[in-house]
Structure formats: C-alpha cells, structure tokens
C-alpha cells in the first residue's frame, strides 16, 4: 500500500478551500496551515500563464524529516504516510529545516505539525478533508498499489510532475500539468 495524491493544476482556481477545510477538520490553530496554495505567473502581458498548486507534505518515500528526527517522532506510518507523534516530539525543529517543501510548522502546543493525509478519515474509508471539500474536484487521492484507485487512474492518463525531484526525496504528491 502506498498512499499518494495528485493535484490538477489545470482545474485548480486557487480558492484555498483545501486550506480552510484542513484547518477546521484538524483544528489547525489560526495563523498556521498544513496545506497552502502557490500561484506562479510566467510571461509578459499578454503572453501569460499561471500555474496554481495546492501544496502540502509530499509524504516522501525517502523523507529527510524522518531521517533527521532525533527522537523517532517523525516516522513512516502504514501506506508510507509520514507522521509526527506529538508526545515524542521535542520541538528541535530539525525536520522543519530539512524539509525541502517547507511543509512543517511549529504548533503552539509544542510539537511540530504537518499534513497527515487525514489518516483518521482515510482509515474510515473517507477522502482527506481537502480532497473531499475541493469545489473543482482537482485533487485525487488513493493507493498507488491499487491500479483502480483515483490517483492511479489519473496518473496513468495525465502528464504530471513532482516538486524538487532533484532533492531525491521521492515525493508522493503529484501535480497534473
């Protein structure tokens, strides 16, 4: 089992519903976020293009945050989801610095927090909150080992990329381009 997510940059309008849905679902404190939206514009008027990406933890196969965590708080859970065990975390921040995607933040309650792929929902057969809320249905989630999962199906037919592949982290967040 290998959980992954794909985000369609051609459909995303950058509304940031994924951000609020995550914040309310996971009680992320005001002022912090586990996912965010990046909008990048290229070209000069009127030859322009915009790429919009809903970004979050890449749940890397080769995660620097897990490797550098001194206490084992950062770890791989079932399906390759990268998680933090809050009461093992000493808040040293090494993982925050090591993450090339800037996906972690220091929770005011004293531990490092990040996207969990909403594992508490996934275990119940639900989609992550961001995926289920998205008005444009631009996010696909599932098990890459299951060829019939929404994420497998879409990656088969659409051109895609990952972010900063040169970091060698083997990210599992794909962007359809």
């Amino acid at each position: 089992m290998r959980y992954a997510m794909a985000v369609d940059t051609k459909k995303c309008v950058g509304c940031s519903d994924c951000v609020v849905a995550c914040q309310t679902e996971n009680n992320v404190p005001i002022g912090y976020c586990r996912d965010w939206v990046v909008e990048s514009t290229h070209g000069t008027y009127p030859q322009l293009e915009i790429e919009i990406r809903s970004e979050r933890c890449n749940h890397c196969d080769n995660a620097p945050c897990v490797r550098c965590c001194p206490t084992g708080a950062s770890h791989y859970a079932d399906g390759g989801i990268v998680l933090v065990t809050p009461n093992k975390c000493i808040g040293c921040g090494a993982c925050i610095t090591s993450c090339p995607y800037d996906a972690r933040y220091p929770h005011p309650d004293g531990y490092v927090d990040k996207c969990t792929f909403c594992i508490h929902r996934v275990k119940k057969g639900l989609e992550p909150a961001c995926v289920s809320a998205c008005p444009t249905k631009c996010m696909y989630f599932g098990d890459l080992d299951d060829p019939k999962s929404p994420v497998s199906e879409i990656l088969k037919v659409r051109k895609h990329k990952t972010l900063i592949p040169e970091a060698g982290t083997k990210p599992q967040l794909y962007f359809l381009i």
Partner: protein, 746 residues
C-alpha cells in the same frame, strides 16, 4: 492569492519563519508534554442541516460539532444542487463568523451624533419600543410609505412582511441596481424571462463558455465554478474577455485582453460575424426571433476591423472566436455575468450578450440555458397587505419603467428632500447590507442618512453603516437560527432547511423573532400569527409533502420536475413572454420606452493623464466586505492589494509590496494605504483591486484599516437610464505616497 510566505509570516511572529532560532524553539519545547489536539479527535457525528449565509449562493450543508459539543466544521450536503456536497472556502470558513468575538452582542441605542459610533447597551424591549414609536410617528406625520428597507440576506423576508403590513412596499436590495439588475432587464427584453439565481446556465454540458469580464474561480459562485471545472475536464472551449489575466483567463483557450470599457464593440462585431459569415442558427432564428433584418442592417459596418480600433483585439481572433461559438452551438453560453453595473450602458451590453445567445440558439438548449423549476410553497396565512398610497416610483415619474425591482440607490436619492420628487423617505431599516460600501458615492448616502428620522440597522457584525444607526439590532449568525425555507430555481425543484446548530451567543436574536416582536408593538401581530418558527416551517413543509422533522434529518429535499422540459423541444413551436412572443433581437419594449431597440456602442470617458481606470473584483475566500474580519478567511487574505502593470510601476518608481494611497479623479484619497502588487496580469491603462477591504469601523479588530476600499473611490456613477443601475467603472485613480492629512500639514 494565498501563498506559503504569508502563512510563514503570520506564524513567524516571534519565531522567525524558516530561520527558526533554537531559543525561540525552546519556548514551545517546554510545552511539548501538553496533550496533542487535532488529528486525534474523537468525532461526534451529530450534524445539523444549514444553508450557508456567507454569500447569496445559499449552499446547503451540514454543521458538525466536536466532542465538547461546539461547532467544529461545515461541509456540503451531497443532495444539494447548489454545492454538490462541496462548500467553497467561505462556506467552509463559516465557523469563523460564529466564533468572531467582534460580533454585535446586544441591542444598541445611539448616544452620540450619527456616524460617531457611540451607543449605549439597550434591552430588546427598549430597542423595540424606540423603533415602534418612531415608525408610528413617521406614519402619522408623513405616511407609512415614507419607510423603506434596504436589505441583503435571509432576514429581509420577515422585515419585508412587517414593512408591507405597515403600509410600505419600498423594499430594495443593492443586489439589483448595484449588481445584476441590468442583466435581468436585458434578458426579460430579449427572452421574456430573467436569468435568476443561481443562473440557469448549463456550464456542466457546454462546449463553449464565453466570459465577458466574469472572473469565475475568483468569484466563487460555487455551482458555476464546479461546473466550469467539469467543462474543462470535458474539453470545453473557454473564451475569456478581460483586461486582466484572470484565473478564468488562465484556463481559457482564448484570452482576449480587451481595452476596458469597450466590450459592446466586441459584442457587436461578434454579432456581425455570426450574421455576415452566416454562422448563426438559421432555422432557429427564422422560426423564433423577431427583428433579424433590423439587426442585420444595424451591425452591417460593425466589422472586426471596426472593433479592432476600439477594443485593441485582433480581427482574426474576433472571427475565430465567433466561429468557435458557432461550432459549439447550441451548446454555447455567452455568460450573462452577475455584477454588471459597469458603465451605465449595462442593460444594452447585457442585451448584446443576450442577442448573441439568441442567434446561437443557446436559450433552452443543453449546454446553453436550461429551464429551471421551483416548487410553490405557500406563505403562512395572513391578512392582505394594505395598498400603499405611494411607492418609490413616484419619486421618478416616467423613469425606470423597465426596472422590475426597487432601486436601492433610488431610495437613497429620494431620501434627500427635493421639491421635484414626490416621495421623501424618513425612515430606513437596513438589514445585512453595509450601505456605505454597497451603494457608490457614500457621501450622498450619508447626506441621505442625515435627513432620516429613523435608521435601524440589523446585522451580525459592526460595519461602517452600524455607526450611523439610531438603533442597532444584533442578529445571531446563520448557524444559530432557523430561517425561511430555501426554495430556489434549479434543474430540479428542491428545498433546503437552515436550523440552529447552536444557541445564539451573546444577546443576539434571529430576524424572524425581531420582526414578530415589532409587529406586536405596531398592532400587526396578525401578520405573524404563528406561535413559533418551528410551527410555521412545519406547516409550510407539510404543504409540499415534507415536514420539519423530515427536513431536520435530510437538510435538502429534491422533487421531480413536473414536465420533462429542462431543455426546450426544438421541434415544437417555442413561445417567449415578450411583446411579440419571439426572442426579440429588436426590442419592442425598449423602443416603446424611447431607448435603442438594438444596442449601440458609445465611447466612455478615458483616464486623464497620470490616472488609471479603477477596476475591481472578488477573491474566492471573501464575500464583499462581510468576511474580512472572519479569522479563518482573514488568514487566507488579510488585505487587498492594487494590481499595477510593471511599466506603470516603473514610471512611478513603485516597488512590489510598497504601501501607497490611491486618489480618484474627484480628489478622494483612500482612507488607508494599500500594497502595490506589481504584476504582468493587468494592463497599463487600468489598475485592479479586490472589493471589500479598507474597513473603517474600529470595532472590527482584524479588518479595520487593512487595505483600501474601492467603494470609497467610486464617487462617479454612470447611471443606466433604462433601469437605474449605478455604473461604477468610470472612476480613475492615481498614486499618492502620503495620507491626505499629512500632505495638508506639510
């Protein structure tokens, strides 16, 4: 747009964002043993149905509570055609409105001068007695018609009943003359029916979607954005006409970066191409339209080459896009837009768009405009309303005969005493609309307010308008109340229920309760003869085969259509509710009123040197100015910025992110500075900003002073002579580097 840096900046206060220092980390290290919150939640699955009130789309959803019994999250109801189970960021952020500690908390009675915002706390009885006494004295001295209501949102229904029972039908929503009014009139003139809300457009199945300045995706009209995404999946062609590279433009096959204020020239040249290149739906036009020959003669010289000189759009692109529309027809939508009060000839521009749809045969077609259906829910029985002696129309003899709804700005103008106007208003009830921002030329609105004997404001939040009120009635939020059953037109008739998910916080109350209490003091209790809102809703629901109990469990109930006529049967004769019974390419109603029966292009004033046209729009995470103080949504966008083309920024030496002031052609300078966003996404002849920021009420702790208000800079109004719409895009701004008072001092 939200980006990671903004969040880092917010979260980095005292921590320093990415460059986290060990000492700062030590602060939370010491807290590391506190129990984790968040993903370990034990979910309480209790849910209550709601209808979102953060915008007018009125999506139906579910409110969930956490294990402490507190409102936790809101998600869409999958049975709902408005949301299809998916809320937009504003709806998802609804708990932020409920938890906002800046809410209006109890009734207020003014103690200072109007506009000072000085009040004393009052009891509900005191507030109601005060209002009832004023209403009676206005009625005795001037007549009950001299009361008006300006409203936006659900509570208006109950205050409307009260006002009509009292003897006035002057009930206006700024959503008409300040927003979608011209479009409604234009479609009535053309097809005999309006577009309505949600718009009856079949984006889901369209092959070609044409957006004239509509920035879908930035305006989160939920169902439409969802369907645009479906259309992208299905490979539909999107054509976007916008001087700004909007998000929709970035999803489009054709982006047409038009010179602002010239849209009508493009639309007329498209009509020319459709007719003279014989691309229109000939059989349909022959059978179902009126005035084709006049239209053909009218647009004879309005070639793409003619339009090029006006719009700066290449003639071959105009031809190509017309061909795309014709190829897709009748599954094509020239989107009627929503906020269309731009240049004062808005009914005519909307008419040109309607004519295009008429020529393409999209009205009544799959992938074009469908035929929506509602069911009929009877009102709770009440005595007939008295017939008012006068209405707002008496203030405008012979004018705006084609306006089907009341003009909010007209009420405002007619409040300023004028010997030439037959009606002068003495009392306003303002429900859920921040009039000083929703109606342009706020100075005039304030002038009107100064002549009032009574101004009552009902709202959930302190706003600019609440500071001018004599009495403020604090409404509880939509998450704390029942409301009218939602019964809006859609592909299938459906009803939806809003019920309280929590008891009202503070000393706040629902509008229905306020209106009923007032009715008792005014001797109008027969109009509110139900004992409880539950009794009334249950009675209404039972008339349509449901019940309150059923709706509490399901939230949304969808009915089958009475006829299989979602799309028109092209084989049958079609009849339209126009004077001629046909689609009027030549409008007999406009001709009768002395207006152009076929739209004409007129040039609009251009910016003086050193000034730039002020254009404005929406951001997906905010609704007008209502959400700027919502902690969850403010987190996504805390202020607006002014978009400036790099060439212009270079001339003024304005740096990206720099705070500047904007001053308009009438010397009005923004109250607050606004950040410059230097971007290629906007033209060199105009600047752009998101509406709804620059709040002036200090009681809004998160929104006060953040960003600038476009409304404040809109002092020139281009009036639509057909229906009284207030065109707002004829204002020009220049850049200033100091607030006005500092400049005056130096």
């Amino acid at each position: 747009m939200t980006n990671r840096r903004d969040f880092i900046k917010v979260s980095g206060i005292g921590v320093g964002g990415l460059a986290i220092s060990a000492s700062a980390l030590g602060v939370y290290k010491s807290l590391a043993t506190s129990p984790p919150k968040g993903s370990e939640l034990k979910v309480n699955t209790d849910r209550t149905p709601t209808i979102c009130e953060i915008c007018f789309w009125k999506c139906a959803g579910w409110v969930y509570k956490n294990d402490e019994g507190k409102i936790w999250k809101i998600v869409g109801n999958h049975e709902d055609q408005h949301s299809n189970g998916r809320f937009c960021p504003r709806g998802t952020g609804g708990p932020g409105q409920y938890y906002d500690e800046d809410r209006l908390k109890h009734p207020l009675i003014r103690t200072g001068e109007r506009g000072e915002g000085l009040f004393r706390k009052a009891s509900w009885d005191e507030a109601f007695d005060h209002i009832a006494a004023k209403m009676k004295s206005i009625a005795e001295e001037h007549g009950p018609e001299c009361l008006a209501m300006l409203t936006h949102g659900s509570g208006g229904k109950y205050f409307g009943t009260l006002l009509k029972a009292f003897g006035s039908n002057n009930i206006a929503a700024p959503s008409y003359a300040q927003c979608r009014g011209p479009r409604e009139v234009a479609y009535h003139m053309t097809f005999g029916e309006g577009v309505g809300s949600p718009e009856r457009i079949d984006i889901r199945d369209t092959k070609c979607l044409v957006l004239i300045g509509s920035h879908l995706g930035e305006n989160m009209h939920n169902g439409q954005v969802q369907e645009m995404s479906d259309a992208i999946d299905k490979g539909a062609t999107i054509i976007t006409v916008d001087p700004r590279f909007s998000i929709a433009a970035s999803k489009s096959k054709y982006w047409m970066p038009i010179k602002p204020a010239t849209d009508l020239a493009l639309l007329l040249s498209w009509i020319h191409v459709l007719i003279y290149d014989e691309l229109y739906d000939k059989e349909h036009v022959e059978k179902n339209t009126y005035g084709f020959e006049q239209l053909k003669a009218h647009v004879k010289n309005m070639t793409p080459e003619w339009a090029y000189g006006i719009t700066t759009l290449a003639p071959d692109v105009i031809r190509k896009t017309a061909k795309e529309m014709a190829d897709a027809a009748p599954a094509v939508i020239v989107h009627p837009g929503r906020h269309v009060t731009w240049y004062g000839d808005d009914t005519q521009r909307s008419r040109a768009m309607a004519i295009l749809n008429g020529l393409l045969g999209s009205w009544g077609s799959r992938g074009g405009f469908y035929n929506p259906e509602t069911i009929s829910i009877p009102d709770w029985p009440h005595p007939p309303y008295p017939v008012p002696n006068r209405t707002w129309r008496d203030a405008y003899p012979g004018k705006y005969n084609l306006a089907y709804e009341t003009i909010a700005s007209g009420i405002c103008d007619a409040t300023i005493p004028d010997l030439n106007k037959g009606c002068s208003f003495k009392g306003w009830i303002v429900n859920g609309t921040n009039l000083l921002k929703t109606i342009p030329d706020a100075a005039k609105t304030i002038e009107a307010i100064k002549h009032l004997e009574m101004l009552v404001v009902i709202d959930t939040m302190p706003m600019a308008i609440t500071d001018w009120a004599d009495v403020v009635l604090p409404e509880c939020t939509y998450l704390e109340r029942y409301d009218t059953i939602r019964n809006s037109p859609h592909r299938k008739p459906a009803i939806a229920l809003r019920m309280p998910a929590a008891d009202p916080m503070y000393d706040t109350k629902p509008a229905y309760w306020m209106a009923k209490e007032l009715s008792i003091r005014l001797g109008l209790e027969d109009y509110f003869s139900w004992n409880s809102i539950e009794e009334m809703l249950d009675w209404q629901l039972k008339q349509v085969g449901s019940s309150l109990e059923e709706m509490q469990g399901i939230g949304v109930k969808t009915f089958e259509r009475s006829y299989d006529d979602l799309y028109a049967d092209r084989e049958q004769d079609m009849e339209f509710l126009t004077n001629t019974g046909k689609i009027e390419l030549y409008s007999t109603a406009l001709a009768a009123e002395g207006f152009d029966p076929i739209p004409n292009y007129t040039a609009h004033p251009e910016a003086p040197p050193g000034f730039y046209r002020l254009s404005y729009g929406r951001a997906p995470m905010h609704t007008f100015g209502r959400t700027a103080n919502n902690a969850l949504l403010k987190d996504l966008m805390k202020e607006n910025s002014v978009w400036i083309n790099p060439k212009i920024a270079g001339e003024w030496d304005i740096k990206n992110g720099q705070y500047i002031w904007l001053e308009n052609q009438d010397g009005v300078r923004s109250s607050f500075p606004i950040r410059a966003r230097i971007t290629e996404r906007t033209r060199w002849d105009s600047v752009y900003m998101v509406h709804g920021f620059g709040h002036t009420n200090k009681k809004l702790s998160r929104a006060y002073g953040r960003g600038a208000s476009d409304s404040e800079l809109i002092t020139k109004v281009m009036l639509d002579p057909i229906m009284g719409g207030t065109g707002m895009r004829g204002n020009f701004v220049t850049f200033k580097f100091k607030p006005k008072k500092e400049e005056a001092a130096s």
